[in-house]
Point group: C2
Chain length 220, copies 2
């Protein structure tokens, strides 16, 4: 297994990354192939598809040992579930699976062919092992039961207020993307302290925020 | 990357395996973990899900070199498409991705925990790298466009006739599964010769068949 590409996203650290792909569709990532795989022909026909699977390396979650159970953040961090019943990064083989939407494909850039995708839940620089087209005939099962994962999907969004300094840091579309990221509340469910100030990094800038009664204030 | 399990299916060779997962829902496979991973706790909560992702090794498709394009059988075997626009086994990292339905889970068998699944398109003995729950919220996109793959999905099924000898080889449910497998016409699209007799292996038995005018005759 060798990386065929790396993805470039707005997240230089784990904090703030949406918990699953597609939750913040405005998030754009850019897939740049390794020199050996910069062959436009390898993408021939991909423009006919709207979605992609990325199979990738949880490069920040490598561990020498594996644990049969993990504590999903969405369950409050206290309940243990079987690792194979979760999408946790801490698994025997640290492989990630994400469905993303194709935004556009540039076949002949200075870096070879580049795929821009929307909705990626990956950290900046994550190694990609494989890219496959999404086939609704076999991959789409809207009727599937999703166990404990379903119970926690409908938390109301936070209302996000940016300080004037933050508004000057980003162009308008990027600011809107950041709003969608923050509205999902990036704090782990078991560390939600309304008296605390949290730091995070987004698109290369350091930010801070606090939350009170469902409202978030964001400042540099 | 180490195999955590192997799947046991009716196919000892590639010929006859459905082209994608889920196409023949009656096909049952059985996932048996490697001794190190025989821990019932690792499956805790999995019974709340109806579908699984399997990430697996295309163990029969290892090649020293990679080719940017492949010829999908469904396009007749002459048209070349980019490897990343197909689910071909011949890819830089030979990783397979399949969605299967959970049939039942046996936590304490003589082989440790065992997952029975339906709709698997994997060869008997295929090594499994990872098992993840299917999350419809992020994984299901019925509206996704599927490019050239869509054009060829609606070929009419073959009418399958078993000889009396074949009918004696299998119990009724297995025979019905075999019928569904064969009705999809396992012959590669570019090798459909109605004057030829084809051999295949199913559930440990050797079979032969010929096809004429949309009807298939199957004999031992």
């Amino acid at each position: 297994m060798i990386p065929i590409a790396h993805i470039h996203t707005d997240f230089d650290s784990k904090f703030g990354i949406p918990r699953q792909s597609g939750l913040v569709p405005a998030l754009e990532g850019c897939i740049i192939f390794e020199p050996e795989f910069r062959v436009a022909d390898a993408l021939r026909g991909l423009d006919g598809f709207s979605h992609l699977w990325l199979i990738w390396d949880f490069s920040e979650a490598h561990r020498a040992e594996w644990s049969p159970t993990v504590r999903p953040p969405r369950l409050g961090g206290n309940t243990r579930m079987g690792v194979f019943a979760t999408r946790s990064p801490f698994r025997p083989n640290p492989i990630g699976l994400s469905c993303v939407e194709i935004s556009r494909i540039e076949l002949f850039s200075a870096n070879g062919p580049v795929i821009y995708v929307r909705g990626a839940d990956l950290m900046n620089g994550t190694p990609i092992y494989d890219i496959k087209p999404y086939l609704p005939l076999t991959d789409s099962h809207p009727e599937a039961r999703s166990g404990f994962a379903r119970q926690t999907a409908s938390r109301p969004d936070l209302v996000v207020h940016f300080s004037a300094d933050v508004e000057r840091l980003f162009p308008p579309e990027k600011l809107e993307t950041l709003r969608q990221v923050l509205a999902q509340d990036p704090r782990p469910q078991y560390q939600r302290d309304d008296t605390r100030i949290y730091g995070m990094n987004f698109s290369g800038k350091e930010l801070h925020f606090s939350v009170c009664d469902g409202e978030m204030n964001v400042f540099p």
